[in-house]
């Protein structure tokens, strides 16, 4: 009796968090089958799986995922790269901070999505508009956290490194950059979250390919199952990006007691 209780407890504990979502899924399936839930509101879960499978087999799914991911990463590279560069600049040089930081702080308070009308006027509705929106959105978290990271590097360490003969690029590479890295990675994780949000909105406005196009197209034809596939894809891609960012933290910040991979959990 007691051995059974001991051996079943960990398995039970692992299952417990899934109890609610699984029963919801079951209830949903049941409601759809019984016709209580119109497929115009929500298709049955099995239909969503079916749609996913069909899209994946035809290759259509991967095409759209590739297009969306390409946009997201290009926007991140442009906006994040600029944010990193300018953050390093304003963090390292007082003159650059005086010249630029006030302007950035003003611009930061404009939500990127508020720019949409202007962006459409400037770039029309093609690729550059989407890239611009994503780039603007991811710029500020990376910029701010890089700036903050550089500024919060322990002055004692810099003084020590100078007195031990480091200067210029060596000082930067061996002391300042690694010291700012935890903060820069926090900015990256913020940016990754924002990146998908902005991309979804940008792709919903207009697109000829991508997950947003897939869902908007399906909406026209009342294919709620495909719409749900699109939503799930965004969720999975967002989660994947977060996992990758966490992996980066574990890899680069292995020295940091706060980020060390935990053996238990």
């Amino acid at each position: 009796m007691s051995t059974l209780a001991v051996s079943s407890r960990p398995a039970l504990r692992r299952l417990l968090p899934w109890l609610l979502p699984l029963s919801l899924l079951l209830a949903w399936e049941l409601a759809a089958r019984q016709g209580w839930l119109s497929s115009r509101v929500l298709p049955e879960p099995l239909a969503v799986l079916q749609a996913f499978w069909n899209l994946a087999r035809s290759g259509e799914l991967w095409h759209h995922v590739a297009v969306s991911s390409g946009r997201a990463l290009a926007g991140l590279a442009i906006g994040g790269g600029l944010g990193l560069l300018l953050g390093l600049l304003t963090g390292s040089l007082r003159l650059a901070e005086t010249l630029l930081d006030t302007s950035f702080q003003m611009l930061r308070n404009i939500p990127a999505l508020a720019l949409i009308p202007l962006v459409i006027l400037w770039f029309g509705i093609d690729e550059s508009a989407k890239l611009f929106l994503v780039a603007v959105g991811v710029f500020f978290p990376i910029y701010l956290n890089t700036f903050h990271g550089i500024r919060s590097v322990d002055a004692g360490l810099i003084e020590m490194a100078r007195s031990y003969g480091l200067s210029g690029w060596q000082l930067y590479r061996q002391v300042i950059l690694p010291g700012a890295l935890p903060s820069i990675l926090v900015g990256l994780r913020f940016s990754l979250g924002l990146m998908w949000v902005l991309l979804i909105v940008a792709e919903t406005i207009s697109a000829q390919a991508g997950i947003g196009y897939l869902t908007m197209n399906a909406r026209e034809f009342l294919q709620t199952d495909v719409v749900l596939v699109g939503i799930l894809l965004y969720a999975m891609l967002g989660k994947l990006a977060d996992v990758l960012a966490k992996g980066l933290e574990r890899w680069w910040l292995v020295w940091h007691p706060g980020y060390r991979a935990q053996a238990t959990v």
């Binding site: 490194a161 007195s163 031990y164 003969g165 890295l181």
Partner: protein, 298 residues
């Protein structure tokens, strides 16, 4: 766990102490190893506030000098001036006859109160910081072995104890073969057992390598245990320059050391009373309370 470590260190310290004892007791560093220091009427002020006034101090090559004083007396500033981290306001400071202009010197190294190890570099890479690529790893490894931590080369600083971090910092300073080692209260944050062990380690490495050493500390016992001379700074001036003519390696609980320590402490504790340095004995009745209160401040 911690206990084990402390006992380890103690054993290590005794071992290190025993080694130089085999050599004749008189300190015989190579004459060229240490740097000579000559400070003449040196002033330093931060804004309007004078920190050091008219400091005159000569330190022979290879000498071990301890600078003691209350917090804020200017002793750390004097060390930073020696390291070239600050510039004097007036007067001269010469190392081996050359004015210290604030330029970094290859032969001067400083050890800080906090170890200031780079947390993102492994112990060995921390020691190799600023070394030329050629043979850096071997030299760093040798320095690490000197402080008895050869097996910790690949650890992150975050997993070391406070005493181990300071030993790594000592290795990092010594790997450059400095001719002047500046110690800015490097043992202030360590527990008593680790301090004793570090005293023995610093003394033996100093005897071995013959560099000039300047130790800033607020602990008079530590100053007497390590130094050839104890210099007391009060209100930015040198108030006392006391030789410590005791044989090396120094023994713990030496009565002569205790007498010197008592003499210096007495001088420090009398200080708050009016200008005349020979305070009248009529002041003594208040003494027990004052002594307890002041020991902390010193």
């Amino acid at each position: 766990m911690l206990m084990m470590k402390d006992i380890d260190m103690l054993a290590f310290g005794l071992h290190r102490e025993a080694e130089p004892a085999a050599v004749p007791a008189a300190p015989a560093p190579q004459p060229s190893a240490g740097l000579a220091i000559e400070i003449a009427s040196l002033d330093k002020s931060f804004g309007e506030r004078p920190v050091l006034q008219g400091i005159d101090l000569k330190i022979r090559p290879g000498e071990f000098v301890a600078i003691v004083g209350r917090s804020g007396c200017g002793k750390s500033t004097l060390l930073r001036l020696l390291a070239g981290l600050e510039q004097g306001s007036a007067g001269t400071l010469a190392l081996d006859g050359q004015a210290q202009t604030g330029a970094r010197r290859e032969d001067v190294r400083i050890m800080f109160q906090d170890s200031r190890l780079l947390p993102w570099k492994r112990v060995l890479d921390n020691i190799a910081l600023g070394l030329d690529a050629e043979g850096a790893a071997e030299r760093a490894r040798a320095a690490l072995a000197q402080v008895g931590l050869a097996d910790r080369a690949q650890d992150w600083p975050a997993v070391l104890s406070g005493g181990q971090r300071q030993r790594v910092a000592l290795a990092r300073a010594l790997v450059h073969r400095p001719r002047l080692l500046l110690l800015d209260e490097p043992l202030g944050a360590l527990d008593a057992l680790t301090r004793i062990e570090m005293h023995a380690l610093i003394e033996s490495l100093w005897r071995e390598q013959g560099f000039t050493a300047v130790l800033v500390t607020h602990d008079v016992a530590e100053a007497v245990a390590l130094a050839d001379r104890v210099v007391l700074i009060e209100d930015g001036r040198i108030a006392l320059d006391e030789p410590v003519p005791l044989p090396r390696p120094r023994q713990r609980a030496d009565t002569r050391a205790a007498a010197i320590e008592a003499r210096i402490l007495q001088r420090v504790l009398r200080q708050p009373q009016p200008a005349d340095s020979e305070a009248p004995d009529s002041r003594w009745p208040q003494e027990p309370l004052r002594l307890g209160a002041l020991r902390f401040a010193v």
